[in-house]
Symmetry: C2
Subunit: 554 residues, 2 copies
């Protein structure tokens, strides 16, 4: 039961960076076309325990990629297409660093894959929702996670030099799965025939040239002499398919600068208070305090000070710190504070101006942050008390929580509010709104509730099924305390599995398949002795001696 | 890496039984209403290592349930509704036996859950496809797998005696998940609100009476004095909703009587040859040899001797033996032998007479058997050689395989054939046919292929993308041998995960959610030290001392 020290668990992780600090990527913007070139510094991994050879990556490399994609949305509204390529000779990317994986704890591996999956999905979201199209320009060998990065792009072109192959060697070489959506995207995005996918994903050397194109593993191959020109042509053609109409200037995303102590992370609109002994945390989001802009010019001028952008960037950062840096905090109480009407006013502005590029990007960031919450393997209980601001977009926090408790005290006003932001702009990974998922089996429709004015007092909210429980003032303290204490005493693994199954009722999408089916199997395999045991393939790789397997099939 | 002996792995398992041998269930048929009453014999578990107290179950109990559901289809065409209840006082069912789970290997637990899931889904298939409606009559406490059995029924009624509760105590009590679809059916079948489902599935004592009904956890509650009458009324009303129109007599399902040796299982139309040293098997299905009936009267008269019924019952039994009794056989070569035209003639008969109840039941059994193949965690390679009979319904075996190899020898005729049976009557768990899944990304439609006459010679089949590879006679032996050898050398776990992700492209259904999302998470948890470690909850339950958890959340 006692895990050994994991030097590759490089805790604490900081998730903020910016282009002038990148160590592994070069971002260059030329009009409508940006180029994001991978040039991983071997000696600049998050931990000194491994070297990032051959453009292999660790979490730090992916944090820079996620940052670049985010900045392309906000800081470069002119960009219509992004070329993802490498500055290394004859190597595109070797995938996740194997020494890093070997040296990491189970939890680190799982959270590393979850983050890289979210980054890939954020690229697909940028393409589908923002018209930022991605071209993978594979100028050399592309293995494992390298090919999964390419799979997240809209198009893949490969150099045909007789040498450069694409491959998913994880299963045959390391006895694990491609962990960043590769198998799902092969058959569900690129529609590679399942028998060919089976052949490809069990072939260490991978495929190259015409076969790669014929099997739809890449879109086109070009000889070395034509490759550079072809990449530019493809990028221009992709840019021409973009629906993005915005033009610069963009807005700057400045550092969040939270105050961090042993037991808290405090931002401007978000705070996270940690109780390590109880293994609980309080995550509080504050409603906007001052006047907020209502027109697009003033929103652009406010930039990253505008409350919804600021608050949700902070919330996103807090969730990531919780996941990676606070692994024993199992139960999170979500609170809000401030003026509900101020939140509803912001929601109205967002809805009214959603066709403006910056407002649209803010809405998309709120959506992705709430999805990050849905996918965070911690129990969330929302506590709705007098003085809270669970209104509209902030009410999504209560809907995303595993349960919500609303204090019913006749002496103190306490209301929750819906807004048009609850009606479709913030969907879950399964494509439905959180209200729709809540009412899958109800004869009443969310539409009736959305039309209600004046908010919902505790009994109305309970009656309308918007909250889980509405205890009165007499019971409140005990009921909430006991619920949190009971939760914190259950097996963390059982809760993770329980929540992963209860949170996503309704249809499945490629995104939920990646986080449900693929990730769950990968997590299973990441614990199997055949992968991580003393004689397992991940342990044995590159060492003396071969892997030894227990041959039982389950 | 070395697993300790697992006394509860009661290998070898025999999957055939019949009502006069049942030890745990009583089947009574009264016109349109059957009653299947659970009365588990404590001392008649598959292993002497545990006692089946309080109507708890092991695989042997579920084999009887599966047998009963199968016989209700074939032997009792008059039955329109089935009451599932218990003969024990104040106890419906306590779920899967905990001592059995504790004493079982990881592989046994996984395969036990897979089988019980297939049995529950076979009940839902009987309701949806055959009009055999199920009523769960909960006459007492109903916990864990007991409630999951109820969830597989069309309706659930609960006695309201102030004592009888329904519960899913697995997570809080044992640190595992309800393993038989419970979480999925709660939110995706009964549409229980996710926060209520969260509350319910973390509450050891469960819920009872009016709250159970108000939360849709059951459909109705009745006081003890009214319970028996209410059950009869509900059963009659359910029977009235049945679309089943068949009347007796049914046909008898007689024992399969295979010849079993150390290295083979041989049936009349199916044979399984095992090579334990190479960890491979050959599974061969023989086309019908003699004349087959073409009219329904003769089909009824032929009964279980009719080739498709016989061959697919045998195939089903062979797959189950492979799963539970031959855990180290990782790679299975699928072959067919005989007259393709005879298979096509049977297919034509089945399609023509699909509206006859027996023909329909045979088609449904073929469908379920092929799904069992899709869900079997072994690699399947179909070898299509001269003399084979991969035609129509038997060609589904090649489509279900991870890969197919077709010998291209100009001197020897070798063809595969499609039939109307490939066009929709044998769907996968995701609701699509295997041809549809194969052509998700193709411009051509399966319809064009289905209309082709004369079968497909190797190059035509390769061109039409019906087979993976068509090596010529020169390469055949080496290519096939190397493919099988390479497969048998990979990590069994990585292959299980790989296949689980590549086999099910396209939409997801409740069924695929159960086997993808839920099962994968359960398998993960079934290995976690918090459940099965020395201080894990499953180990500690009922022993001295409490479980001790590693509190890290992943």
């Amino acid at each position: 039961m006692i895990e050994r020290a994991h030097p590759a668990d490089a805790v604490p992780v900081v998730f903020e960076t910016r282009p002038d600090r990148y160590q592994h990527w070069k971002l260059a913007v030329d009009g409508a076309i940006a180029t994001l070139a991978m040039d991983v510094r071997e000696d600049a991994g998050l931990s000194a325990d491994y070297r990032l050879k051959l453009n292999s990556y660790d979490l730090g490399v992916d944090i820079e990629l996620a940052d670049a994609v985010q900045r392309l949305r906000f800081e470069y509204p002119d960009v219509r297409a992004v070329i993802i390529t490498s500055l290394k000779e004859r190597i595109f990317c070797a995938g996740a660093n194997i020494m890093m994986l070997r040296g990491s704890s189970h939890g680190w591996k799982v959270n590393f894959c979850k983050y890289t999956n979210e980054t890939r999905l954020a690229m697909e979201d940028a393409s589908a929702q923002s018209g930022i199209r991605f071209l993978a320009a594979l100028n050399g060998t592309c293995a494992g996670g390298g090919y999964e990065l390419a799979l997240a792009c809209d198009e893949i072109v490969l150099v045909d030099d007789g040498h450069s192959a694409v491959s998913l060697p994880e299963a045959p070489l390391l006895a694990v799965l491609p962990g960043t959506g590769g198998l799902t995207r092969l058959v569900d995005k690129r529609y590679v025939r399942r028998d060919r996918a089976d052949f490809f994903a069990t072939l260490v050397e991978g495929v190259k040239g015409k076969r790669a194109a014929a099997w739809r593993i890449v879109d086109a191959v070009y000889p070395t002499s034509q490759f550079k020109d072809a990449v530019q042509t493809h990028a221009r053609e992709l840019a021409a398919t973009s629906r993005r109409t915005s033009n610069g200037p963009g807005i700057a995303l400045s550092p969040l600068n939270p105050t961090v102590t042993e037991s808290s992370v405090t931002y401007s609109a978000v705070s996270l208070a940690l109780d390590h002994r109880a293994r609980t945390a309080e995550l509080t989001v504050h409603a906007p305090a001052g006047a907020q802009p209502t027109g697009v010019d003033r929103i652009v001028k406010a930039g990253d000070h505008y409350w919804p952008l600021r608050a949700f960037r902070e919330l996103d950062d807090a969730l990531l710190r919780l996941r990676l840096n606070e692994s024993e905090i199992g139960t999170v109480v979500i609170k809000t504070e401030g003026d509900s009407q101020a939140v509803l006013a912001v929601d109205e502005t967002l809805v009214d101006h959603q066709s403006h590029w910056l407002v649209w990007e803010i809405i998309l960031l709120m959506k992705r942050t709430l999805k990050r919450l849905d996918l965070t393997a911690r129990s969330f209980f929302a506590l709705i008390e007098p003085g809270s601001a669970f209104a509209g977009s902030l009410f999504e926090l209560a809907l995303a929580a595993d349960r919500s408790y609303m204090l019913d005290d006749p002496d103190r006003s306490n209301r929750v509010w819906l807004s048009p932001m609850n009606a479709g702009l913030l969907p879950m990974s399964n494509g439905l709104t959180r209200l729709q998922v809540r009412f899958l089996g109800e004869p009443k429709t969310p539409g009736d509730l959305l039309a209600r004015e004046g908010g919902f007092a505790p009994r109305d909210a309970e009656e309308a099924e918007l909250v889980s429980f509405a205890p009165d003032a007499m019971d409140w303290d005990d009921e909430v305390r006991l619920a949190v204490e009971a939760r914190a005493a259950f097996s963390p693994d059982a809760l993770t599995g329980l929540e992963a199954n209860l949170r996503f009722a309704g249809p499945e999408t490629m995104e939920t398949k990646i986080f449900g089916r693929l990730t769950a199997w990968q997590n299973w395999i990441f614990q199997r002795p055949n992968a991580v045991g003393e004689k397992g393939a991940l342990t044995a790789y590159g060492q003396q001696g071969r892997a030894q397997f227990d041959w039982k099939r389950t």
